[in-house]
Symmetry: none
Subunit: 220 residues, 2 copies
DNA sequence: TTATACCACGAACACCTGTTCGGTGTCAAG
DNA sequence: CTTGACACCGAACAGGTGTTCGTGGTATAA
């Protein structure tokens, strides 16, 4: 069933008010902002919004209404974010600008905000923008943003940024330690073959935990 | 300056109450749950919490409290974000579960929250989880989350989910309309060759605007 | 016409809510 | 001891707040 224009305005006002003030409005606050003089009319329309399932009401409680649905969580801070420092760029030919713990703490520049749902473990993480398409093997494209974690406890199979000392090159691969100091570097693309290196010849610069790619128009 | 145990309990109660009920508590609600009989005592401690910068108070307004926790930025309002309905899965062999406008409005299930910085245009967008690695060509892996937009204004070069009618298959490619109803489907991986199809033989199901990949451990 | 929803208005009521004030006890500094 | 800061209590007050009730206008259907 459709909503009247008045009901839509009420709904939007509740939404905006709650977001801005951090609490739902009272009946009279709704009325005065939407242009309704009588509290009973507001009450009447609120009941309709509740019947339509757009809001929830709690009886005889001041400000006892809340917006239903996914957006509601947002309004009261039920979604928590992690701010990840955007440290710079990563390219094949240059090592990663490794951050210090101190630097991460005090970082005050650009950040990438992600929900804690996506980043359950945000200790010592930082983000880099990928330059060039040298990491296509790892399913990572030019312009992608990779979120990395400082390489403390790298486990077999972790996706890591590896600095190849002999080639002076950074690459992203899954890392498996094997016997005799040998390390297997497996591209993420499962159709590609692994690559082997000596453990003394590589340096693990970070563990990739997340990749974000924004698609924008490309010059054909 | 440290907080008394009472003040900590008040603070935690406000936090929990707000999250659960969608509105801040009243002074008396705080008192009865924390074990304080007098409203003035609650008021007294609230002023201390406000002085310490842990909450904000608004004078002479019912439920005029809000938390300003350590993640101040991440709380309501300071980070502007959009919630994207997580509609289901996308696989090569099945068409996309296309949402209606109405359905997107009222959606109440799982969502993916992203900052507006990452999603400047959130009209008619929805998210799908990729099943299978049939879209490796498009640099998209099993388990990735793709954010798509309803295909209203598809421009040349847009990355689209295309349903190939003759093959009964969904694929992700960059789409270029060419002369004579011919459409060029270009894999995202620039090392791969394009693919051509008849425009009447394909159906564009959505435009990919963003991809998120969480890296978890893989069974070797 | 009559009936019936639907939508709106204003007023009144009872309770809720933030604020204020006088008073009590404790503890450390003077 | 006296003083003052601190933490707390109970009570009262003025205004806020959800609810209810009587009323009336406007469509649409019988």
């Amino acid at each position: 069933m459709g909503l009247s224009e008045r009901q839509q305005r009420i709904y939007e006002f509740i939404n905006r008010f709650t977001r801005e003030k951090g609490r739902p409005p009272t009946i009279r606050e709704i009325g005065s902002h939407v242009g309704i003089s009588s509290t009973s009319v507001v009450n009447y329309n609120l009941n309709i919004l509740a019947r339509e399932g757009l809001i929830q009401r709690e009886k005889e409680v001041s400000r006892g209404l809340r917006i239903v649905g996914a957006q509601a969580k947002a309004l009261v801070g039920e979604i928590s974010f992690v701010q990840i420092p955007l440290l710079g760029k990563i390219a094949a030919g240059t090592p990663i600008p490794l951050p210090t713990d101190e630097g991460l703490m005090r970082y005050d520049g650009e950040t990438l905000a992600l929900t804690r749902e996506l980043m359950p473990d945000s200790e010592g993480v930082f983000a880099l923008e990928v330059k060039g398409n040298s990491m296509i093997d790892a399913l990572i494209n030019d312009g992608d943003i990779v979120v990395m974690k400082k390489p403390q406890a790298v486990q077999n199979g972790d996706m890591c940024a590896v600095w190849l000392k002999d080639k002076n090159e950074t690459t992203l691969k899954r890392v498996y330690r094997e016997h005799n100091n040998r390390v297997r570097l497996q591209p993420m693309n499962p159709t590609l073959k692994p690559f082997y290196a000596d453990a003394r010849n590589i340096e693990i610069q970070g563990k990739v935990v997340l990749v974000v790619r924004q698609l924008r128009k490309l010059p054909a």
